[in-house]
């Protein structure tokens, strides 16, 4: 690796990290001065990071085949005496650069969008400056997560994005629902992070180092730091614990409960954090730690199973929701399930590709929903408006494009990425593939249910709302994302430049370990029918599902209520998200509260009682001695006489 390339990468990395951070600090510190212009530090900071990410990409493209990744040390952070220091270092390889581009690019668009979104009638909302400061802080944290070259930086970025998520979900902190949602997100993440932390400890104990390169090399060789062989049990344990953290961050079963509630935050937050970037950190982590995961077939199976189950579960729940953002949230959970399924069936490049395209169309959909919400005066419940096609033409157009991409309609980006995962899933086990297909159908159905109910039909707006199309600042990002939603998919077709770009990263891990391939070769289709047949089937099913949604919600709108009435329990189960929240509440929250009350009782009675007993001794002594100080002169005289009597007695008897 040429030294000046390393130096350039180092500078780019530092810019990527520090520019958004500086933007955050400036936006926060100069808030009283900036007021309505507080978006500028953030836009400039994130813009600089995006430019640096492009620079990194250009350099990474020029990596030759042997030097696939660059470990760029920046400085020694904590140097312990044994020589193993925690160093701030960047690992820059194709995966990193893809993630960086996605993160900084989508962030930039969201920040630009927010400039108009966080205003009411042109005047900035209360807390405008806070919003932009937190957004920039988030970008910094996410970049740290992605750029990190060791597990410490990964964990640092992990926790920091969790913090920013909490701050941003609870942005409207005066609303109790928002505050509760923020708490819930943080706590559920914490549960996952506990497993993640244990995994890091285990890695350190086993391998003596936390640097990616060293750890993965030891895993591939199958040895521990002290020379002992690496057992299946240990590597499976590490992988499952890492998976624990990934499930928490990426909202997979059973730690998915925070994501729907996180929709209490503003729509840009939902778009950026809970669709395009933060929640994908789990997928990124599994992809990055491919060596560990692929060393344990059991862990891979678990990952695939969790991904598939979550995808199906979330898709079914999304079928009956009426809050647009909630539908999109469940859709996100479902698509993340696809990504997990992807890595679980050794198709990590397909999973990252899906992550890439999903970032575009999901962000597009969330921002579009935000545009609708802005026009509807803050209401996002689909039952209260309809037929917005004519009122909000541009929003409708971009939203439609995003929905087509999500539904996996052929020629849009989602089709290509999703299809590949399903294909790989079939090669692994037919159950996984079938679940993938069914979920795809459901996805198309509920997505267009949303489109038809909200944008088609009779024009209805809530009381007193003047529906108007959004301004320039909001529409331009929507257009850009729409272009990405259509075009990004073509990076994975034909010569598959995207996958080739990522090839060196996964060569030794996922591809090598993939039992279906027997060892080499990237994910090329095996035969014409196997590949294209699946494409035709999935594409056709998607279009059929769209048609079904059209019929049910536009032509014969009396059918859905009939279905609901005939299956009341099923409908209730879906509407209440399978009662998972209630289950957690009963199984975990209530006992925790109860034990808290017990502790309070213990503290009051036991500990305070002990303290009282200990203080009772001096108090008792004082009480007894208080009689000598009654203030009455005769008491004092009595004491004197008594003392004198004692002394006289002593003297006389002693002298006898």
């Amino acid at each position: 690796m040429a030294p000046d390339t390393l130096a350039t990468l180092k500078i780019c990395g530092i810019v990527i990290l520090l520019a958004p951070l500086a933007g955050a600090i400036l936006a926060g510190a100069l808030a009283p001065v900036l007021r309505g212009r507080a978006h500028w530090p953030t836009i400039l900071g994130v813009g600089a990071a995006f430019a640096a990410a492009i620079c990194v990409f250009i350099h990474v493209r020029q990596f030759d085949a042997e030097h696939v990744s660059a470990l760029v040390p920046v400085y020694d952070w904590i140097a312990s005496g044994t020589g193993s220091a925690f160093r701030v270092e960047f690992l820059i390889d194709p995966l990193t650069s893809v993630m960086l581009l996605t993160v900084t690019g989508v962030s930039l668009l969201v920040v630009i969008y927010s400039r108009d979104y966080m205003r009411e009638h042109g005047r900035p909302e209360k807390g405008y400056e806070r919003f932009f400061a937190f957004l920039a802080l988030f970008v910094f944290a996410m970049c740290a997560l992605v750029l990190g070259g060791n597990f410490v930086l990964l964990y640092l970025g992990w926790e920091a994005v969790g913090l920013c998520s909490y701050l941003l979900i609870g942005f409207y902190y005066q609303r109790p629902a928002a505050a509760a949602a923020a708490k819930k997100a943080f706590l559920v993440n914490r549960v996952g992070d506990f497993g993640f932390g244990l995994a890091i400890f285990l890695i350190y104990i086993s391998f003596g180092t936390l640097q990616y390169g060293e750890v993965f090399e030891m895993v591939e060789r199958g040895v521990l730091a002290n020379g002992d062989p690496l057992t299946q049990g240990r590597v499976t344990g590490i992988a499952l614990l890492l998976l624990c953290g990934a499930c928490g961050k990426s909202a997979q079963l059973p730690l998915h409960v925070w994501l729907p509630d996180a929709m209490e935050g503003p729509s840009p937050v939902s778009a950026l954090i809970h669709a395009a970037t933060m929640v994908t950190a789990g997928v990124y982590m599994i992809a990055r730690c491919g060596a560990i995961f692929t060393a344990s077939p059991l862990a891979m199976t678990v990952v695939a199973a969790i991904g598939a189950t979550t995808a199906l579960f979330a898709a079914t729940v999304a079928l009956v929701q009426t809050d647009m953002k909630r539908i999109l949230a469940y859709s996100t959970i479902s698509q993340l399930g696809y990504m997990f399924l992807g890595v679980g069936v050794y198709a990590a490049d397909a999973a990252i590709f899906h992550l890439f395209t999903h970032a575009f169309f999901k962000a597009l959909l969330f921002l579009g929903a935000g545009s609708v919400m802005h026009a509807m005066g803050g209401i996002i419940d689909m039952r209260q408006f309809g037929g917005l096609r004519k009122l909000l033409p541009w929003t409708f157009l971009t939203f439609l494009i995003g929905s087509l991409a999500l539904a996996g309609v052929p020629m849009f980006s989602g089709f290509f990425s999703k299809d590949e995962i399903i294909h790989q899933a079939f090669t692994r086990h037919w159950v996984l593939g079938t679940i993938g297909l069914v979920t795809a159908v459901l996805t198309a159905f509920y997505t267009f249910r949303m489109v038809f109910v909200a944008f088609f039909g009779d024009e209805r707006v809530p009381e007193g709302v003047h529906a108007h199309e959004s301004g320039r600042w909001m529409l331009v990002p929507l257009f850009i994302l729409a272009i990405g939603a259509i075009g990004a998919g073509y990076l994975g077709v034909g010569g598959k430049p995207f996958h080739h770009f990522l090839e060196p990263v996964f060569e030794h891990t996922f591809v090598a370990a993939n039992p279906a391939w027997g060892g080499h070769e990237a994910g090329h289709a095996v035969g014409f029918w196997a590949a294209y047949g699946l494409m035709i089937i999935s594409g056709g099913l998607a279009i059929l599902a769209i048609g079904a949604a059209y019929v049910l919600y536009n032509r014969q709108p009396w059918i859905p209520p009939l279905v609901r009435a005939s299956l009341p329990q099923g409908y209730d189960a879906l509407w209440n998200k399978y009662y998972v929240d209630e289950l957690y509440d009963d199984a975990i929250v209530k006992p925790a509260r109860k034990s808290g009350k017990i502790c309070v009782g213990l503290d009051d009675y036991l500990i305070d009682g002990l303290v009282w007993v200990v203080t009772a001794i001096p108090r008792g002594l004082a009480y007894m001695l208080r009689g000598f100080q009654a203030g009455a002169m005769q008491g004092y005289a009595l004491s004197m006489v008594a003392g004198m009597a004692v002394i006289v007695l002593l003297v006389f008897w002693a002298g006898k």
Partner: protein
């Protein structure tokens, strides 16, 4: 055997009685009266010792003791009157501000 043992014992009895009265009565006047009883005991003792030593020093001492007793009685009674005027009671325990 001591020639004055009986008088000494008598003196100490009077003194003790006066002491008991001083310590246990609450009425200010009776308290001071008890101190006068203590004085009587001391006078008896002083004179007994004078007889023992065959000189009159003890008696002179008792005489001056008498003067002191008179002085003390006058001033004490004056103050008792003032205290009584202040609180309206002769209770010694009315003056326990320095309690605690």
């Amino acid at each position: 055997m001591s020639p004055v043992a009986d008088y000494l014992i008598l003196g100490s009895i009077l003194f003790a009685l006066g002491l008991v009265g001083f310590l246990s009565r609450r009425n200010l006047i009776v308290m001071f009266l008890s101190t006068e009883v203590m004085f009587q005991g001391v006078v008896v003792n002083a004179v007994a010792f004078a007889r023992l030593h065959h000189h009159l020093e003890g008696q002179a001492f008792a005489l001056f003791l008498l003067v002191i007793a008179a002085v003390e009685a006058g001033l004490a009674l004056g103050m008792i009157v003032l205290l009584y005027r202040r609180r309206g009671t002769l209770d010694a325990e009315a003056w326990s501000i320095m309690r605690g």
